[in-house]
């Protein structure tokens, strides 16, 4: 009975929330906007909330008692599955271009860019524990470094890539110096401001960056000096391999470039974690005073974390610029920082596999959801749903937000929260939160 009342109350709250959100829609009529009512769509949503709440309540009694061991079993399963998931993902990533579908390759390139950004930010946030809300600044520095060097001095992508990385790392160290003494929330505020400062500078320094109009005509990367050009003239890929020039060649090449860059990021961070520097980062995340008492140079450790994290952001930025061939400050807004940070947190701080999975879910999943919803809308022939069917894809953010909330309730430490010790003496034992909770970590 209490469950029914509870569900009813939830439905009431949902009604208050969704009546204006879903139930009211404006359409343009003869004399301006007209307000249209959609009672059925609202009723469906409220009904779903009512049922959902009932299901949650009816399951609660059982899960509470069984949760501890099942959590532990899940953690063990996840860490075991990780052994197979990683090579599987890698094979899938390498094989993706063979589908030949431009849509999938483009989506894959986008996902890989975010995976790379996630891994880069993971060094700063996941390993060194420095909450950075302005990571997009380094992405922007990398992109603009490459774009400006290429358009002003005629340098190619491969020459500029390391330069973009170095300049971004330099920006990272510059950000690092003033925030050395800050922690937690205060650090987050300053990094957030840093991200905005870079964007505002890019908009207003018109003589250098061409302001809001952005930079066009950024050159594409070449394969050992062979260009991907459509005319098929001498010195192009098509000419060298004696094939018809096609756009897909460049798309596939770009895909493998970002795959290589992302794997490089992963490899470097995995290696660094085994080095004293990586261990110092992890120690810094735990306790700064203890680090200092052990003779670790906290300043240099923090600056290298900022610098190396920023460098990978810069690489990704240079790739972004060469892929788009056009960049403007609009591409480097706070929402990008937030997305990358969400990927890192969702994946489980410090977990490389988790970050990759989270990027796939957040970037790829959102696209798939859009497809699925428009497919669903097409199937709804009933006039009852006619109003909502065509708009269904617009609800994807709502559904996605809901999924994020549910996810954080169910797995608050991220998708892959168990951390394998970077250094183990005899036998590697996984440290899962479930084990720690029971004093057996």
């Amino acid at each position: 009975m209490t469950a029914l009342r509870d569900a009813f109350l939830s439905a009431l709250v949902a009604l208050g929330l969704f009546a204006p959100l879903v139930g009211l829609v404006t359409t343009s009529g003869e004399h301006g906007l007209l307000l249209e009512l959609r009672p059925i769509a609202t009723a469906v949503v409220v009904g779903l909330v009512f049922l959902g709440r009932l299901i949650v309540l009816s399951r609660r009694g059982r899960t509470r008692t069984a949760s501890a061991p099942s959590n532990r079993a899940l953690a063990e399963k996840v860490s075991k599955a990780g052994k197979y998931v990683t090579p599987l993902l890698l094979v899938a990533a390498v094989a993706l271009p063979f589908t030949g579908s431009r849509y999938y390759i483009d989506l894959g390139t986008l996902v890989l860019t975010y995976i790379m950004l996630g891994w880069g930010l993971n060094i700063v946030v996941g390993l060194a524990g420095l909450l950075d809300l302005g990571y997009v600044a380094f992405y922007a520095v990398g992109a603009y470094s490459f774009a400006l060097l290429a358009t002003n001095f005629g340098l190619g992508f491969w020459t500029c890539l390391p330069l973009a990385g170095i300049l971004a790392a330099f920006a990272g160290v510059m950000l690092g110096f003033p925030v050395l003494r800050l922690r937690g929330d205060y650090l987050a505020i300053v990094t957030l401001a840093f991200g905005e400062i870079i964007r505002v500078v890019l908009i207003n320094w018109v003589s250098l960056t061409n302001g809001p109009n952005g930079i066009t005509g950024i050159p594409r990367p070449t394969l050992f000096g062979l260009a991907f050009s459509m005319d098929g003239g001498p010195g192009t890929i098509a000419d060298f391999f004696n094939v018809e020039p096609a756009v897909i060649q460049r798309i596939v090449f770009l895909y493998y470039v970002i795959l290589g860059l992302a794997l490089l990021t992963n490899w470097v961070s995995l290696r660094l974690r085994r080095m004293p520097l990586g261990r110092a980062w992890e120690a810094l995340r735990e306790d700064e005073v203890a680090c200092r008492s052990l003779g670790i140079n906290v300043r240099n450790t923090k600056l290298t974390a900022f610098g190396i994290g920023a460098m990978f952001g810069g690489f990704a930025g240079a790739f972004f610029a060469t892929r788009q061939a056009f960049i403007s400050p609009e591409s480097f807004t706070f929402i990008e920082s937030a997305t990358v940070l969400a990927i890192v947190v969702l994946g489980g701080l410090g977990s490389q596999l988790g970050v990759a999975l989270a990027a796939i879910v957040m970037v790829g999943g959102l696209e798939t959801l859009r497809d699925f919803l428009s497919f669903l809308g097409d199937q709804m022939n009933s006039p009852l749903f006619s109003g909502i069917a065509s708009e269904l894809p617009l609800y994807r953010m709502l559904i996605f937000g809901l999924a994020l909330v549910v996810m954080m309730v169910l797995r608050p430490r991220g998708l892959v929260s168990g951390r394998t010790p970077s250094v183990a003496l005899h036998k590697v034992r996984d440290i899962a939160p479930g084990l720690v909770a029971r004093g057996r970590g």
């Binding site: 261990r279 995340r285 735990e286 203890a290 003779g295 140079n297 010790p421 250094v423």
Partner: protein
């Protein structure tokens, strides 16, 4: 031969508040020296000032013939001075093994096998817990880990800040026993800050009493234990 560590006229401030008022203190090689005093007397501050955080405003700190008063903290720690800070401050989410390796990193030591061996001989419990996360250890084990971590850099001077804090009397005895063994077998010099004055004075060769940021008494452990004012101020209620 000069003393291993000597402080002359050291003062230290937290903002405008003076925490240390002209401290003179020496620690000879191979000694266990203890610093006792009430809450807020400046014991921990003195320990931290030796490490350069906060830095001494006046006076001089000389370690092994070298003036280290103005040195940055991490360089001081690389002179084979090791500290087990107050409240232990182990790395909760790192394993026991990783915690110990953190201690070895300071001196740039790549060969850690001997150090681990020594720590495990001293505290066999840590060996049992090697793959466990630091945060899941009991209080006593965490203290052992903090001391073990400090020992990993093969220090010539060990600074211990309240190793008995929050521990059961039996565990305190174990830890103090380990300190005594270390001192006897390896000649390790120890500067020990303690609230548990009775235990500390019994362990130490010499002791200093700190009141309100100044040293008011100094002497050998047994001398200080015999002083009636010490008994009244710090041993009332009898920890024996």
């Amino acid at each position: 031969m000069t003393a291993l560590l000597s402080l002359t006229g050291v003062t230290a401030f937290y903002g405008a508040i003076q925490a240390l008022r002209g401290i003179d203190l020496t620690v000879e090689r191979g000694e266990i020296v203890t610093l006792i005093g009430a809450n807020g007397a400046g014991k921990s501050t003195l320990m931290m000032t030796i490490c350069g955080s906060p830095r001494a405003r006046d006076g001089q700190i000389v370690h092994d013939g070298q003036d280290i008063t103005q040195w940055p903290t991490h360089l001081i720690m690389r002179r084979r001075i090791a500290q087990a800070p107050e409240g232990r401050r182990i790395f909760n989410r790192m394993t026991v093994h990783e915690n110990l390796l953190m201690g070895a990193e300071v001196a740039g030591r790549t060969d850690t096998a001997d150090g681990l061996e020594q720590v495990f001989t001293l505290f066999p419990r840590l060996k049992e817990r090697i793959g466990q996360r630091g945060g899941t250890l009991s209080g006593g084990e965490q203290q052992m880990l903090a001391i073990g971590r400090a020992l990993m850099s093969r220090p010539t001077l060990l600074l211990l800040d309240e190793p008995s804090l929050g521990l059961a009397p039996l565990v305190v005895r174990q830890i103090f026993g380990a300190i005594r063994d270390l001192n006897r077998t390896t000649g390790l010099t120890v500067l020990l800050v303690e609230q548990n004055a009775y235990q500390a004075l019994r362990l130490a060769h010499r002791g200093y009493v700190l009141v309100n940021g100044s040293i008011t008494m100094a002497g050998t452990g047994s001398e200080l234990l015999a002083r009636p004012e010490i008994r009244a101020a710090y041993l009332e209620g009898g920890h024996a």
